[in-house]
């Protein structure tokens, strides 16, 4: 895919916006590529992690927010830990995911991942913690194609007590709910 950067992108405030939301100064990145070199999921990404930072640096908003990379990032924080310039790359990915959703730019190829995120958060919102079975239920309802995926491990997990049929609420469930309200 050919990317064209013009004066418009270069003059835009994308980097500043990202910095305001995340506190991360992407100008610090000097593109050494160490984040990419250590990324365990880089092989699946459409753009390398350092390229995502580069997109932010040069104002390529569309490229950054529509990339699959930001959704494939597993937030393992290897990049952040190893960055010589102390750029919090994994945290940056978080902010880019938020912006991507807000602007409706999330890559359709990664719909599974966005739906999974939603189901995860819904479960936490409802119970104050994850209820694996109910979360999976919601996810698989919304993404029917995944209905049979990983089904084989279900009985094993059940037998080992890793899944319970009833959700267990935490004590401070209401407090968690309030966090969600505030974050809206």
């Amino acid at each position: 895919m050919k990317i064209k950067i013009t004066t418009k992108e270069l003059k835009s405030d994308f980097a500043k916006e990202v910095e305001e939301r995340s506190g991360i100064d992407v100008k610090k990145c000097y593109q050494c590529g160490k984040c990419t070199a250590g990324c365990p999921v880089a092989y699946e990404m459409d753009y390398m992690p350092n390229q995502i930072i580069r997109f932010v640096q040069i104002g390529a908003r569309r490229e950054a927010l529509t990339s699959r990379t930001i959704w494939l990032c597993a937030s393992c924080i290897t990049c952040t830990t190893r960055c010589p310039k102390e750029v919090k790359i994994a945290e940056l990915m978080d902010v880019l995911r938020e912006m991507s959703l807000e602007e409706g730019l999330a890559n359709p190829l990664e719909k599974n991942i966005t739906t999974f995120h939603e189901a995860f958060l819904n479960s936490v919102k409802k119970h104050g913690r994850i209820s694996e079975l109910w979360m999976l239920n919601e996810y698989k309802m919304k993404r029917p194609k995944t209905a049979l995926q990983d089904l084989i491990v279900g009985p094993q997990m059940l037998s080992k007590g890793k899944l319970s049929f009833l959700p267990h609420d935490i004590k401070g469930k209401d407090a968690v709910k309030r966090i969600f309200e505030k974050c809206k």
Binding site: I3, T6, K11, K27, Q57, I58
Partner: protein, 682 residues
């Protein structure tokens, strides 16, 4: 000397030699098969203190009068072993090195081959030693005065250092003022201190130093002689102004009507008059008349009359308040002066790449595409805009400036394969200067690599990006073209694999540092070497970085290769210390390995036939002609003679001589044939 007692010392050099040469066998064979070799031994490290002691002891004990050390290249330790011999009273030129390391053990992987070849090499050298004659060091007197060519920061620093060492310095600068390129700069990296503020005190110091004689508006005409004894002719170009009378009052250039001449100092961005000083802090602060552009001189040329007879314009001379004799002299002519010096420092500097070379960037075509030095003048408080960043075309403040690095550098297709070294740093500085003056402006830099190796340099370039907000894009620009008022820059960002198109208001080219146009000419005048890029060559890139290929001539600054101010100053200091060392002694000792043209008794006088082929091939201009005269003064014969001071012992003349009249001391025919025959007959 056919029956010399020769000692052979074979070095193991740790395992460097002994791994592929059976050193014991070499010693044994040498002793057995070479009558006259009275002593052989081997030692682990001959160059070590105990190794040298062994050499000295055996010379005395065995009464040796010839020595062969079979070891590394003579370039490494010939000096060491010859010095050891001197201590025993043996003439050092009876000590020879047989190179069995670089030329044998390192290139042959097997012991039998290495051993056989080493034995051969040692035998060759023993045969040479048999023919060695005692030679004595040549002594040459030293003129305790130095010449510095070039009055930029390198020349000024070198001159000051030599003058502070108590020796006279003659400084020659071809422009009307000293100062060079550094005086043109606005601020300097990585500290951003004003260039003129740190440069002008040095200029004043040089001008006021009693040991320094300055010749501005002057050029080197010719250089003769040799280390310690150079004779230099300096052409003092006609300035049309008497430096002794002129007070630099400015009356003349204020009235000059030719005010539209592009100022060289301002890189063509500003104007000057025909009678002018290049910049306000010029030293000497006395004007020069630009005879090419002055209407009086133009008129005189047209009418073919003496300039003083032209009546077209005499405003400057009329305005000159000096009485009774005016300080301006239209009829002044070039003057040639001759000086004698013992050492020379070449500090002739560089020139910026001409901007017409990059047609694709619109250099020389679009007014708003400027070079790095032009940007320096734009940003300089003493520049044509008094430090306000304005587009040259319409005087508007540029809101988007694109800086293009490596313009001319690292571009073999444009004949410039090297890195100019300073551009990464000065471009980072330019972005800062720009952002300091145009706060809302955008600075974009296209680069291939950012090379900022130096103390505080990396931090400086990162500061340009992180704090000053310059955007760096990794890729060379392909093209710059005009679209309305804007300049469209087509480049790439290879980090994202994208094409980049910027509509800029101004484009600054980080132009390469090139050798001066006449660098070859000065090199030829001085008989020193230059490289493929016409930068003057140092004799050894690591261990002799300021010495030129001619003894007594040293290099400082950018004439030797691109470098920044700190490096230039350091090199100038190094060159000055070499000069001071040279001038500290009354006489110099030279290695007596020089060529000699034979002299015989009358009526032959010399077998030299006077063809002077030797003169043509000598790279050091060491061959002179000598008239052999009869008692009545009539010339009997003109023959060649070698100037011992200049000769470097390369042997070209000896090889070229058609009548076999030239011998190289230490490497004469007899010695060389002895070596060769030692191989042939075994």
């Amino acid at each position: 000397m056919g029956n010399k007692k020769i000692g052979v010392f074979v070095c193991h050099c740790g395992t460097n030699i002994s791994a592929t040469v059976d050193v014991e066998k070499v010693a044994e064979e040498t002793k057995k098969n070479n009558p006259g070799v009275s002593y052989t031994t081997t030692y682990k490290y001959m160059c070590s203190d105990p190794g040298q002691k062994l050499l000295r002891d055996k010379i005395k004990e065995e009464g040796l009068d010839g020595v062969v050390v079979a070891a590394c290249s003579p370039k490494m330790h010939e000096h060491t072993f010859r010095n050891a011999a001197i201590k025993t009273g043996l003439n050092p030129y009876h000590v020879e090195i047989s190179n069995i390391r670089e030329q044998c053990s390192w290139v042959h992987p097997e012991i039998p081959v290495g051993t056989e070849k080493s034995t051969d090499l040692v035998r060759m050298m023993t045969e040479k030693v048999r023919k060695d004659k005692s030679l004595n060091a040549i002594k040459v007197p030293v003129t305790k005065r130095a010449l510095v060519i070039g009055g930029g920061i390198a020349g000024i620093q070198a001159a000051l250092d030599i003058a502070d060492g108590g020796h006279e310095v003659i400084m020659v600068e071809r422009e009307a003022s000293i100062g060079g390129h550094m005086a043109q700069l606005s601020e300097t990296f990585p500290t951003l201190d004003c260039s003129q503020c740190i440069m002008t005190p040095k200029m004043v110091e040089a001008a006021q130093n009693d040991n320094i004689t300055m010749h501005t508006w002057s050029e080197i005409e010719s250089v003769d002689g040799y280390i310690g004894n150079f004779t230099v002719k300096i052409r003092k170009k006609a300035r049309s102004v008497d430096l002794d009378l002129c007070t630099g009052c400015s009356s003349c250039w204020q009235v000059c009507p030719c005010s539209k001449i592009k100022s060289e100092f301002d890189m063509g961005l500003g104007n000057r008059t025909a009678i002018y000083i290049p910049f306000p802090q010029a030293i000497p602060s006395k004007p020069v008349i630009d005879r090419e552009n002055c209407i009086l001189f133009k008129d005189a040329r047209k009418k073919n009359i003496k300039p003083n007879d032209s009546k077209v314009c005499r405003k400057c001379i009329d305005a000159c308040p000096i009485a009774p004799v005016k300080a301006i002299d239209y009829n002044q002519e070039d003057e040639i002066i001759e000086v004698k010096v013992g050492a020379i420092i070449v500090a002739t500097g560089y020139k910026e790449l001409e901007d017409g070379l990059y047609g694709e960037y619109g250099g020389g075509k679009y007014e708003d595409v400027i070079t790095g030095l032009q940007f320096e003048r734009l940003a300089s408080a003493s520049g044509p805009t008094e430090g306000v960043i304005k587009r040259p075309s319409d005087g508007k403040e540029p809101e988007i400036v694109v800086f293009i690095q490596c313009v001319g550098s690292r571009d073999p297709a444009k004949g410039c394969s090297y890195c100019s070294k300073t551009c990464c740093m000065y471009t980072a500085k330019h972005t800062m200067l720009y952002k300091h003056k145009v706060h809302h402006g955008h600075a974009f830099v296209f680069y291939i690599d950012i090379r900022c190796a130096g103390k505080g340099y990396e931090e400086f370039s990162q500061r340009a990006i992180e704090e000053e907000g310059a955007t760096y894009l990794r890729g060379r620009v392909s093209r710059v073209y005009k679209k309305g008022e804007k300049l469209v820059v087509l480049g790439a960002d290879t980090l994202t694999g994208s094409v980049v198109e910027i509509e800029a208001d101004m484009v600054v080219l980080a132009s390469a540092m090139k050798a001066q146009d006449d660098a070859m000419e000065i090199a030829q005048k001085l008989s020193i070497q230059y490289d493929k890029d016409k930068f003057l060559s140092e004799i050894h890139p690591k261990l002799k970085p300021v010495e030129s290929s001619s003894a007594g001539i040293f290099l400082a600054g950018t004439c030797q290769g691109p470098k920044d101010i700190p490096e230039t100053v350091a090199q100038a200091g190094a060159a000055a210390s070499k000069v001071l060392a040279l001038l500290s002694s009354d006489e110099l000792e030279r290695e007596p390995v020089v060529a000699r043209v034979d002299r015989q008794l009358p009526p032959v006088f010399s077998t030299c036939i006077g063809c002077f082929y030797c003169q043509k091939v000598c790279p050091y201009s060491a061959i002179e002609s000598e008239d052999i005269k009869a008692r009545d003064g009539s010339v009997i014969k003109t023959v060649a003679r070698v100037n011992e001071g200049l000769c470097q012992g390369c042997g070209l003349c000896a090889a070229t001589c058609r009548s076999k009249s030239i011998e190289l001391d230490g490497f004469n025919d007899e010695q060389i044939y002895a070596e060769i025959n030692a191989v042939e007959f075994n």
